[in-house]
Amino acid sequence: MKEGVALLKAAQKLDEEALTAIFDQFAPAIYKYTLRLCHDPIVADNIVGDVFAQLLEQFAAGKGPRTNLRSYLYQTAYHLVVDRSRDSQHNAPLEVAVGIYEKGQFTPTQTQIEERVMMEALITAMNTELTEDQRHVVILRFLEDFSLKETAEIIGKEVNNIKVIQNRGIAKLRKVLGMQLGESW
């Protein structure tokens, strides 16, 4: 299977194999990212469809990403999510992300219980305390592992601005978790 730049070049020529590979590689990640933001599996699925449809249109028009396909797809997804949230004024919670901790059938240990409590507090803080920009930056930087530069490209801001947003977001989370969880913070 082609990878990296070769995959991108083949996709630009609308090679079916390359296009399929791109979908298989990025669709689950985009779905997860979108689901974190909008908390609706159907909406997340629709946004994935829109993201890849736009990608096809861009390739057909001779445009589209030249280097970083992943950033490009996340950027498209980010814009679609923002547009939808503006339309519906929907506050996107991150409750879906807790699924892993709710599915456990085993008896949790003390550490696991503490960790789960912290996770829930963190998710609540992200949903309620952070601004939209801070939430996007925190998700892209720490949940999707994008670099500062990539995050800046996706959101459409300067790198320094992203740094500031990230620092403020983390500081706010720390403060909220410290207030909720006590002296250990």
Partner: protein
């Protein structure tokens, strides 16, 4: 930022959060994948078809050799000639008329007299009978001679009238008599009666009579 232990704890928690298992539901993923591939095929087909057409238009003519180009020209000319000939054959009558009309010299048109309509009705001739109108010329008479003249004139006029009446009125109207030097139309030229002489004034009429 990352020097702060509290911040580092938050980041560690966030990195744990990213390992969640909220995966794409398989049925949704399969459906989405199928739609995406369908669209990819459509777009690819459209692009290839468009590119093929463009190549045919652009490259098709450029790839022709000079000989083939000449043959193509000849074939086109022959086709045009054949088409024109066919059209001329079908419209030969109209073309013939057109040529005749344009080639013949223009001639003077012969003017034909309008047809005479002879009616069966008898023609009645209408003659206008002039009406005689007598005009009297008023004349002021103060002298004896004038009155005699007028009287003689009137008598003659009366004779004339009588004669006119005896003729049954078929005679032409008599023209107005000559004004004898005084037509009466000129103001100030009528003859003035002679002024009474002094001798007449001096005659004394006896009162006793």
């Amino acid at each position: 930022m990352e020097n702060n232990p509290g911040d580092q704890k938050v980041i560690d928690l966030l990195s744990k959060l990213k390992n969640d298992e909220s995966a794409y539901p398989s049925e949704l993923l399969e459906l989405r994948r199928r739609k995406y591939l369908q669209k990819a095929v459509q777009v690819g087909f459209a692009i290839r078809a468009g590119a093929g057409l463009k190549n045919m238009i652009k490259g098709g003519v450029a790839r022709l050799t000079p000989t083939a180009g000449t043959w193509l020209e000849v074939a086109l000319v022959v086709a045009i000639v054949a088409e024109v000939s066919t059209a001329a054959y079908f419209y030969r009558h109209k073309l013939n008329n057109l040529f005749e009309a344009s080639l013949t010299t223009p001639r003077a048109q012969e003017v034909t007299p309008p047809p005479v309509v002879t009616s069966l009705l008898p023609v009645t001739e209408i003659s206008v009978v002039p009406i005689a109108t007598g005009t009297e010329t008023p004349t002021a008479t103060s002298t004896l001679s004038d009155t005699i003249d007028n009287h003689s004139n009137s008598s003659t006029n009366g004779n004339n009238e009588n004669s006119n009446n005896s003729n049954g009125g078929n005679n032409q109207a008599a023209s107005t008599p000559a004004p004898k030097g005084n037509n009466g139309n000129h103001f100030g030229q009528t003859k003035q009666p002679p002024k009474p002489t002094k001798e007449l004034k001096d005659i004394k009429v006896p009162k006793n009579k």
